[in-house]
């Protein structure tokens, strides 16, 4: 009888609080969006599962380990505790992912047309606007964000998941779950969010602009570029060095051609293993008290504002550049400056094809697209430099 009571007291039904129940539903929703709507499934599926697991009452997924005096484990911790502490609190997982993304990135289009870096810079405008927005909301008493929180939220506008997670883990660990979910959700929504903004800010004539074919880029340029970027980071913005250093390292492994087996592993086994655990670890931050509050609403709203402003800034920057140069840029590719590789570039290509069925912008948009990755990592470095 005693045992039966014990089992009942251990059961989820007995312990489940309303908040946990809602968060399990949120987890199921994320899983649904990942599977049915193909919303960034590589991240949202593990995040959703992590959210479900962490909200099972009594399952102890976040339990802290207890050690005895001799340093032996008396009671082991939960798997999500270990994953979060070892991989996310330390910043290891986003950095390893960034290395893998570097090994997957081709800087060829950017090197063929380095001016597209300005588009990647402009699209970070959303980040900084959002920070101001978050501060204003706090001053108006509607939300309660510190400056560090505001900076972490702003990075959502960079449309770069690992960067957002890395910055949150340093500046606003409590908001990490909501920020990561917002970042990946909006990245998945690029095909819905961007086109109306792109069309509103451009004329049909502008969208029809055909761009010159890109020159071929030599292997040597591709090898020297990540090293140049790294040296510049070292000299001028060391706080961006963790993210961009690992990114350049990954890219150099790929482009050097001498360590193919390492590059393959960085692009496959290693990034996949890390992605599984990163997702679970981020999901473990989706507890009801951290997620079910007005701040999350603020993060979602500010995030989409940042995203929209970033998109608009990229497009407007392209139009501005066309005023001062004879080599015309199709302003649609400016929208790709937000990152969200390669979704944003494909959206630019698609909107371009709608205006002119012979206008292939994909490769041209890949330039600002990877520039956007650099841009948001630089913005992250600036934030950490001011507030870290």
């Amino acid at each position: 009888m005693e045992s039966l009571l014990q089992l009942f007291r251990d059961s989820g039904l007995y312990q489940l609080e309303a908040g946990q129940f809602v968060m399990i539903l949120v987890g199921l929703l994320l899983v649904f969006l990942a599977i049915r709507k193909k919303f960034e499934p590589l991240l949202l599926l593990p995040i959703g599962m992590g959210a479900i697991l962490v909200n099972i009452p009594g399952a102890g997924f976040l339990a802290q380990p207890v050690y005895d005096a001799a340093g032996h484990i008396e009671s082991p911790g939960g798997i999500l505790y270990y994953i979060y502490e070892a991989g996310i609190a330390t910043g290891m997982f986003p950095l390893v992912i960034f290395m893998g993304v570097g090994a997957l990135t081709d800087f060829g289009p950017l090197l063929a047309n380095p001016r597209t870096l300005f588009l990647g810079a402009a699209a970070q405008f959303g980040i900084f606007t959002t920070v101001i927005g978050a501060i204003l909301l706090t001053q108006m008493g509607m939300m309660d964000f510190t400056l560090a929180d505001a900076a972490a939220i702003g990075i959502i506008g960079g449309a770069d998941g690992p960067t957002a997670i890395f910055v949150s883990s340093r500046l606003a660990p409590d908001l990490l779950g909501a920020i990561a979910v917002a970042a990946y959700s909006y990245m998945a929504l690029v095909p819905l969010i961007q086109p109306p903004i792109m069309k509103a800010l451009t004329t049909v004539e502008e969208r029809k602009i055909r761009m010159e074919q890109l020159r071929p880029v030599s292997q040597r340029e591709k090898i020297i570029f990540p090293l140049s970027l790294l040296v510049l980071v070292a000299l001028f913005l060391p706080t961006a060095a963790p993210l961009l250093g690992m990114f350049c390292f990954g890219n150099l492994m790929k482009e050097s051609g001498v360590v193919e087996r390492l590059s393959d592993t960085a692009q496959n086994a290693l990034i996949n293993i890390t992605t599984i655990f990163l997702g679970l670890g981020v999901g473990s931050k989706l507890s009801s008290d951290a997620f079910l509050n007005v701040e999350t609403l603020g993060i979602l709203v500010l995030g989409i504002v940042a995203f929209g402003i970033g998109t608009a800034s990229g497009v407007l920057m392209a139009k501005l550049m066309n005023r001062f140069s004879s080599m015309q840029i199709n302003p649609l590719i400016g929208a790709a400056g937000v990152s969200a590789v390669p979704m944003a570039a494909r959206v630019a290509n698609k909107v371009g094809l709608e205006a002119n069925s012979q206008n292939f912008l994909l490769m041209h948009a890949m330039g600002p697209n990877v520039a956007g990755v650099i841009g948001s990592a630089v913005a992250a470095g600036v934030m950490i430099s001011y507030l870290g």
Binding site: F128, S218, R220, E260, L262
Partner: protein, 66 residues
């Protein structure tokens, strides 16, 4: 925040300049385009050794038949 945005722009402008200089230098002096050799690297060396081994074994075998 203007400052932050300014920093991003200044940094990426620097990168544009450095990249452009680098590219023009490479195109000027690195005239001979290095063929994209798929060098297997040290990792492939064992395979290469195996290959050599197979070849030399085959030669031995061939010779011992004669």
């Amino acid at each position: 925040m203007l400052l932050g945005m300014g920093t991003v722009f200044v940094f990426l402008t620097l990168l544009v300049i450095v990249t452009s200089i680098m590219s023009s230098l490479v195109q000027k002096y690195g005239a001979v385009q290095p063929a994209v050799l798929k060098t297997p690297g040290a990792a492939g060396q064992l395979d290469e050794a195996t290959l050599l081994a197979v070849i030399s074994a085959a030669i031995h075998a061939h010779r011992s038949k004669q």
